[in-house]
Amino acid sequence: MNRNNDVDSIVIRLAGDSGDGIQLMGSQFAVSTALAGADFATFPDYPAEIRAPVGTTFGVSAYQINLGGGPITTAGDAPEVLVAFNPAALKVSLPLLDKGALILINNDSFTARNLVKAGYDTDPREDGTLNDFQIVTADISHLNLEAVKEFGLSKSEGGRCKNFYALGMLLWMFDRELESVEAWISRRLADQATMRDANIRALHAGHAFAETAEMSANLSQIQLAEADMEPGEYRSITGAEALALGLAAAGELAKTQVMFCSYPITPASPLLHRLTRLAEMGVGTFQAEDEIAAICAAIGASYGGMIGVTSSSGPGIALKTEAMGLAVSAELPLVIVNWQRGGPSTGLPTKTEQSDLYQAVYGRNADTPLPVLSASTSGECFEMAIEATRIAIRHMTPVILLADGYLSNAAEPWRIPDMAAFEPITKNIVPESDDSPQRRAFTRDEKSLGRPWVTPGMPDLLHRIGGLEKDVETGHISYDPANHQRMTDMRAAKIDAVAEFIDDQRIEHGPDSGDIVVVGWGSTYGPIYQATRRTGVSFVHLRHINPLPRNLGEILGRFDKILMPEMNNGQLSTVLRDKLCMETLPFSKVTGQPFLIREIVEKIESLRGDV
């Protein structure tokens, strides 16, 4: 690590026990960082167990932050600063570090018992394990308890301020202000005056301690470059937050309420939790008895005139596929959000993956096409939620929006959009005519092929819908062979028609043609962005996966090699071979972990060697 100098960006990892308040400390650090003008990206990495036994390696909770001059698009490859709250945290984090990294250790926790729990036979501080690193140790637990002594808290209450003590130290290291954190503590603990004051005290004490002679001998302040961010108002946002706001915004743009129906599942639940807090924006949440009931209730809500939305992760989406067919057949709008996680089956529920693309594009019985979108960053979840809703209502179809476990929890600075810039979402009009209501309800818009959204309660439009094949014109049940062909063609044409409404594919950066283009989708945006910038190759990132943007084939055709990094076994490659009949070079990583920038850089370099 490049201490005592100005650096462009830096990667910090905080790690400790699940009970140590690491996630809180991390997100507060991120925000205070941002307030000082830095860009950042975070990666919360916590255990599968709810509350694993104290001191164990599988109970380690970590939070990685990459901050500095922008654009920062990933939480960073190798942490350059590690704050290790206990031996287990040290143990699991060490393999991630490059030589020379700075490790800040909480001495107090390195008891014989904790060393054993972490699986250390000897003390790593003394046995040479840390020789390649810069070590700074401090008795954080003890110092913190001293600092808050006067508040008369119990030992465990007092101990809970430790994360703010450590945060104080960090904030000094990066020369950040304490105000925003202080304000946050005051808000959050408004009705627990003692805890509030104790935490604020701990924060200041940590800051002061770092500034003192003893500490600053080993630890010096780091000046981060300011990010060169577009002017505007910013906030920190996770994917779940952005998607929740996006759905609410879509409802507002469509002048319709949003009914969100879901069943809890990792990592989809945060969206449900967020939406319960947006009730005053016309959002309702219904916790159904299972995933099937959830999508069915959403379909019912759409039938009733609200925007029905459901969300889950892979195993839950699997259960919803039969009902998706109904929504396709009945031509009702619906938004289905999939927060992908490691599989198959229960798999690695708290780890990220993007392996549900097959399921989204092809995973239904019969010829049942539907639009598939994908969000690339936490902030982009906002726009994609609006885009998904817009397509659902315009084409009267269910739409799948793919996100993943990483996006759900990862925070980044997000420029607050100007809502006036979004076009309203309009519904197809019921044709005025003497035709039967049934026919009027199935008179499709010529361009989008979307039918009008006729809902029970509207006078004079009584009609019946269902999952049996319908006459392409009258909407009545039809067993006619020729009609089935026409309906099958119409359903395909309707989804193809989406391409007429969406933006052309753009190249994120790099030359317009050349030897290599890297194609990504979803949360691999961050690492691919950096890797392609560093290597100067072209980067194309997909938000619309079905249908693909009309010009995609033409763009990709200008390159010799199409490299496709994916956190799955090559699923987007299948789609591109299928739809564009193009040879691609799949580059898979299926470990439950996001790509490192360097992994992609190396791959590009090795490809270049071949060229």
Partner: protein, 323 residues
């Protein structure tokens, strides 16, 4: 007029199927209570019974197997002003759809659920169903079924139902009485209708549905009235505390021992459900409680109206400006 509730679609049940009579009864009941067709929706799953929405001139949604209660729940939440009816069969409602029925009932969602019980899977050509009696021979049980059946009544009571009634497909009077009460109920009103599938399970209920003997084999319940039946109301039902069960008594002798029907008594309701002969009909249990949608709206801070714009929320807990 009942015929105002008929659609242009040709009715396609087997000639002689009990579903025809039920359709008539429902059309009549809707006309009787002056239902507004545009504010009425019939939601069904899959099965012979589930074809119902095509034949009734209201809004209608023929959905997928077993899921009608879940879809209807979403519809009712989206528009609580609607009268939402669910039509289901013993297979649709109690086999694949049991879970949704259970949760609909415990939540007390304001749906009117008509379960056409013919003790068979009609549409798929006659396999035994979860209400088929042990020993039912069918294409999937050529040597007779071995599964013990579920009692729809006991099941819905166990799910915390607030309204349980019964009717016979061809019993015009009984059915229209029940349907009117169903219409008036807030919360989940569940009706088991004994329906004759003449093709695959003809006359399974004949022992109590035959017109001739109905007076002796059916007990028509009325809240606050003694449980009498028989040609001249000469038989009654008494509770025997020794055996903890109901028994038939001669009502002329021991009228004072005859139970008076109290719709709110869940214990007696369960005894009535198990009564073999006579079979209890009409509203067996009714215990009004707040409906799910009422609780949902009462509790929703804005009653689903948009009180604030996205611009009021979008900043989150803190924001900063870059210039």
């Amino acid at each position: 007029m009942p015929k105002d509730f008929a659609t242009s679609q040709e009715v396609r049940w087997c000639p002689g199927c009990g579903d025809y009579a039920i359709l008539k009864a429902v059309q009549k009941a809707l006309a009787d209570v002056g239902a507004n067709p545009a504010n009425t929706a019939f939601v069904s799953g899959i099965g012979c019974a589930a074809r119902f929405p095509y034949y009734i001139e209201t809004y209608g949604f023929h959905t997928i197997h077993g899921r009608a209660p879940a879809i209807a729940t979403g519809l009712k939440l989206a528009n609580p002003e609607l009268d939402v009816w669910v039509v289901t069969g013993d297979g649709d409602g109690l086999s694949i759809g049991g879970n949704h029925l259970m949760h609909t009932l415990r939540r007390n969602v304001g749906l009117k659920v008509l379960l056409f019980n013919n003790e068979i899977y009609g549409l798929t050509k006659g396999q035994y169903s979860p209400t088929s009696r042990i020993g039912t021979t069918s294409p999937s049980s050529p040597r007779g079924s071995v599964d013990a059946p579920i009692s729809p009544g006991q099941f819905v009571m166990g799910c915390g139902a607030h309204f349980f009634a019964r009717g016979v497909d061809t019993d015009k009077v009984g059915m229209s009485d029940v349907l009117r009460q169903v219409h008036a109920f807030t919360g989940t009103a569940f009706v088991e209708i004994f329906q004759n599938c003449i093709v695959y399970n003809e006359d399974v209920f004949a022992n109590f549905t035959e017109r001739k003997t109905a007076a002796d084999t059916q007990l028509h319940l009325k809240h606050g009235e003694p449980m009498l039946f028989g040609e001249n109301n000469d038989k009654g039902i008494r509770f025997n505390q020794e055996t903890w069960s109901l028994e038939v008594v001669d009502a002329t002798d021991s009228l004072n021992e005859v139970l008076v029907h109290d719709e709110g008594n869940a214990i007696v309701a369960r005894l009535l459900i198990d009564l073999h002969l006579p079979v209890a009909m009409g509203v067996i249990y009714r215990q009004p409680a707040v409906s799910f949608e009422d609780a949902f709206y009462a509790h929703h801070p804005s009653r689903m109206e948009r009180k604030k714009s996205i611009t009021d929320f979008i900043r989150g807990p803190s924001s900063w400006t870059v210039d």
